[in-house]
Symmetry: C2
Subunit: 255 residues, 2 copies
């Protein structure tokens, strides 16, 4: 996930000095769906099978609404070939691009407005559990601090905390989704942990995955907060140390 | 740029407590070029004329290579209509989408590989100037810390530091580009300051603007470092306090 490089470091005391640094890897990965080229993503080259499946599902190319769907993934260098039995009209989806704020200009091909209100169970979550999970998540995400170029997403599910990393904030979440699909995990009472800030498209993504809790070390935009309120998602931000901000549906959080 | 909202705050000492918080605004803005709808961006609703012009130029829809180009921008709510005399084939560009890592999945419609090597003058920059500029930039970008949802981009040009903010990392840079185009500024010896980390597409963007210096408070990916080396861009990261990491072309930095 990172390369060793020689850089110069400047400090007031020593001036310019050559040193070794660890930089986050960033590679171009091209996705094919049933032999049609869909897109090239710039991403961290790890778990790219999960990234491919998660991305194609998040963006509406693959339909996984039925309990039964077949998928076959083959990697060849930086190209991932996904074969799925339930796909949608690729050209139609590609033309319906909406750039999103992401940390920049993300594309989301999916019709976000068509998303359902979170209809699953309404589990409770204790603030102590959130604070202990975030501590573990923060420790495991330390690479971010080391390279300054990697975001983490974590899923607290079935007593585990599954963590995926990527230079792309969305990619990390798509990897989590791909993990769920490949391992037949249903995140309907799970919590999604994030290092990065929460903008609207992360809310839509969690909604499609039917995840009721989003917990971030950073803050949320006002649009993200409004959507979380409307869609029945409990949204927490600035969760660090022994503190947290609860933006929506605090009734699910027990202190 | 931000909304006041009622949230709950949790602290170990006081438990859950209702408080007012400032959240970054995020809105959908739709761009039209010569009456054709191009895209919808999620962004901070400020300087959207600059965002529209900067985005359309960065993505290759508008050609500004000639010294003379005419542009007319009209805003109507969250829709921006741009009229330009030098435009490229819109449908062709739209079909050539590459998602980029951004902080997520950015789209860049432009053919990055066609970019030139930085051919302008090779100005020098003193590390003291960088450190004093970053201090000013950091102070002006304080809103980021306040809301956790806003990135800043700054341009040190003609003795000034022009700062633009956005929930999107790329949007902030596109606003800077739009500012240059609308004010006939040539950033050929300017420095671009950023709060966010540097991935490859920021290097391509600076290259197209012919900016020789990129200076960030965060780190760079290894791909960004390699591109900066190849294209003749001086790239600095982790510039905070009295320290800096110089990733490429340190010969232009005088201590």
């Amino acid at each position: 996930m990172f390369d060793k490089k020689n850089v110069h470091k400047y400090s007031e005391r020593y001036g310019l000095k050559e040193e070794t640094a660890f930089l986050a890897q960033e590679e171009k990965v091209t996705l094919f769906l049933n032999n049609a080229e869909i897109i090239s993503l710039l991403c961290s080259p790890a778990n790219i099978d999960e990234l491919a499946l998660g991305f194609l599902t998040a963006e509406g190319f693959i339909c996984t609404n039925n309990d039964y769907f077949e998928v076959d993934i083959r990697e060849k260098g930086n190209t991932v070939f996904v074969y799925a039995d339930q796909i949608k009209d690729v050209e139609k989806i590609k033309l319906r691009a909406t750039l999103t704020s992401g940390c920049g200009q993300g594309t989301t091909f999916s019709e976000q407005e068509g998303a359902d209100i979170l209809s699953g169970a309404s589990p409770n979550f204790s603030i102590q559990k959130v604070l202990s999970d975030i501590k573990l998540f923060q420790t495991e995400s330390l690479i971010e601090g080391r390279t300054g170029g990697v975001h983490s997403a974590g899923l607290a599910i079935d007593g585990e905390l599954v963590i995926r990393k990527d230079v792309g904030r969305h990619n990390a979440v798509d990897k989590i989704w791909g993990y769920c699909l490949l391992n037949n995990k249903k995140p309907y009472s799970a919590a999604l942990y994030l290092t990065g800030r929460i903008s609207s498209e992360i809310i839509y993504k969690a909604l499609k995955m039917q995840i009721p809790f989003i917990i971030s070390m950073s803050g949320a935009t006002s649009r993200a907060m409004e959507l979380a309120q409307d869609f029945g998602i409990t949204l927490l931000g600035y969760v660090r140390g022994r503190n947290a901000v609860i933006y929506s549906h605090s009734e699910r959080i027990k202190s």
